[in-house]
């Protein structure tokens, strides 16, 4: 069936046909529809200042989406980012309270994040827990510790040097946005142009065959969990600096936003396929959509409903297209 479709797609080399055959078609159309919709309903959406808002709002979730993309392509998943982000925020806040300089406390917080990633990997690799279960457990564990570390209280941050991370701008963009943009670029290159990225696709495509072809799947999976948690931790630290505080309740549901963005961008849950450009589109459409609804003063309850609709429409595009073609 699909070979036939591919043959058809190959023969019709028209730009339009090729576009419709590509997995990103659904996303691109969704973005176009979003822009057109907001052009009428929320003209403020198109102000440069608002685009900056979208970038800032994406900064933490975007980093997590990068980590999730790699993991899901490799056939794994991480449900702990919300907790890891909050815990990292608390760790940095508490360290700063004890007057540990940002030069030390920031790397230390990232190291803690990486350690949680290593823990996730160990649960999956050594104790053979399902990734879903393992990271659900660490999520609960570190959400709890985020409360325990400071008796459940929010910890205000006063360290000027650290707060600069959220306030200072270079070339008109906040540091957190620069971090996101650089990370997106670097991880796009890593996934697409290096053997490391290739191996991520291979173990997601068939882990047994990957092992027999000499890829050390365990070590790779460990690196991916560490990477995802460290990126999350970085996101959590930046969030704390924007909020002037470490909050144990922060980043609730962060992982689901990130997974939504990843899946919107065409990364398949079955593993072995997807791309960073897709994820990047997914991040900005998700955040842009929220932002637009906010500008339109849509009540937040309805924002959830709308987001669910977006997910269904964007992801069923491929199936709907096939149904139409068959008719």
């Amino acid at each position: 069936m699909s070979t036939v479709q591919q043959a058809i797609a190959d023969r019709r080399t028209g730009v339009v046909a090729r576009f419709f055959a590509s997995p990103m078609a659904g996303m691109t159309i969704a973005i176009a529809a979003m822009f057109v919709g907001f052009a009428f309903a929320a003209p403020n959406f198109f102000l440069p200042a608002n685009f900056l808002n979208i970038l800032i709002a994406s900064s933490t979730m975007g980093l997590v989406a990068v980590g999730e993309s790699y993991l899901i392509i490799a056939g794994q998943i991480d449900l702990s980012p919300g907790a890891v982000s909050a815990f990292s925020g608390m760790v940095i806040a508490v360290m700063l309270k004890n007057s540990i300089a940002p030069m030390i406390s920031v790397p230390a917080a990232l190291l803690v994040g990486a350690g949680i990633g290593y823990l996730n990997a160990t649960l999956v690799n050594r104790l053979k827990l399902q990734p879903f279960i393992a990271t659900l457990a660490t999520s609960s564990l570190f959400r709890g510790l985020a409360f325990i570390i400071n008796d459940g209280k929010t910890e205000q941050i006063f360290n000027k040097g650290f707060l600069a991370l959220g306030l200072e701008r270079y070339l008109g963009l906040p540091i957190s946005v620069w971090v996101l943009l650089i990370a997106l670029a670097a991880f796009t290159i890593l996934l697409r142009y290096t053997t490391f990225g290739r191996s991520v696709y291979i173990i997601g495509g068939n882990p047994v065959a990957a092992r027999l072809a000499g890829i050390n799947a365990r070590r790779l999976v460990t690196k991916l969990y560490v990477m995802c948690a460290a990126l999350t931790s970085l996101g959590g630290v930046m969030l704390a600096s924007r909020m002037n505080a470490g909050q144990p309740t922060a980043s609730n549901g962060l992982e689901f936003d990130a997974i939504t963005a990843t899946v919107l961008g065409g990364v398949a849950f079955s593993g072995g396929s997807g791309s960073m450009p897709g994820t990047i589109l997914g991040i900005f459409i998700l955040v842009g959509f929220n932002n637009g609804l906010l500008i339109m003063n849509v009540p937040s309850f309805w924002q959830y409903v709308a987001r669910g609709g977006l997910l269904v429409v964007a992801l069923s595009f491929d199936t709907i297209r096939q149904l139409i073609r068959r008719r």
């Binding site: 036939v4 291979i202 495509g205 065959a209 072809a213």
Partner: protein, 484 residues
Amino acid sequence: MDFPGVRALDNVSFTAESGKVVSLLGENGAGKSTLLKILYGDYQPTSGKVLIDQKEAVFRSPFEALQNGVSVIYQERQLVQNLSVGDNVFLGHPPRRLGFIEGRDLNHATQKIIDEFGLPFKAEDRVWELSVAHQQMVEIMKAYNRKIDIIAFDEPTASLTETEIHKLFEIIRKLKAENKIVLYVSHRLKEIFEICDDVVVLKDGRFVNKLRIQDATEEELVRMMVGRDLKGIFQRLVHTTSFGKVILEVRGLCNSRLTDVSFALREGEILGFSGLVGSGRTELMQAIFGVDRYERGEILFDGSPVRITFPADAIRLGIGLCPEDRKQQGIIPIRSLRENIVVTIQKELARLGVFINRQKEVALAQEQVKNLDIRASGVEQAIMYLSGGNQQKSIVGRWLARKPRVLILDEPTKGIDVGAKAEIYKMISELARQGIAIILVSSELPEIIGLCDRILIMKDGRISGELARAEATEEKVLSFALPH
């Protein structure tokens, strides 16, 4: 039954009568499986129809097919591994009382069928505990229990031993005696002559011929399916008699599945491993290749002792393994042919060992495609769209890309049609002549005897016998392999 004008299958029509076993014969890609899937309501025909008892039968799903007395047993087992035999036999229609499953009735009824078939397991056994052969029997019992009129088998003997095949044939004869229609798909001509009444030959999705089995000869059928004569393929292969030095030596290898296995392999030699399924052949290869651990014994490569803990260690030495289960362990289905071929050597091809060098990858993949005559629309085609034989050649190509010194082939022709088999035999013989040492694990005796310079036979995790090419016969190999 009729299949007139089914597309993808080009205008295939034939009839099958009650109480007959009809074989569907053809190379991979000839359309046999497609035909069965349409019959089972898994695929919908673009045109043409299926007639049962002169009435048109339209099945939109396997469920509808089953309700109308049609069952197809696919190559891949469709059992729920965690449930019991009884649960599987009654899958979808368990005996109920007040809406609750009546477990005792279910097990009782299942046990009756098991006894009728004369099988050694129980209705309460979990399916995953059973051997592959017994799982296959459960599939048949599942169909049998549904009181079906038409039952189709797709390559039922691919993973069965001789005794198990014998058992299967008894059951098929029983179905035949009960006036059912049995459709039987297999590549193994010997079996077709043994069990079938009629044979329908398909080639490239077209109907070639239907004949009664007593009117057919093996040569004739092969010629119809492949359009060429396979007989004598082994005689035409050129064998080397002068081997190089010992490249791989295994001394006293032991683990939970192996006992004191020792052998030596020379450059340019084709060493066959025969034995029953479960005799330890695959386990031995996995231990050598670093997939499984070995507890005692040692492996010498090129004269010096080596420690192989991961497949990557074996690969670094120059050993390649084409695994037994091509789909589960060999191919990376959704990735391209290029990525599948270069996977073993991607680091070496990359710039600075990190950045993918696409030109080199394409060149290397194309070289393998050309040398091994892999048929694909291009190196960027996803490997899952290739036929079984071409997938197998691609997996071999994956190793040849690294210029291996030892190549282990575990059941390289499993589920591959006759034409592709001949090509693989030629390829193996050619590789040996280039000086690559080859280990061939195979359950097909003609292949082991026709191709190998020396044959080691395994039984219960030990090497139970050794035969040189000149003295090897099927009887001798079997006498070492079978339990006494």
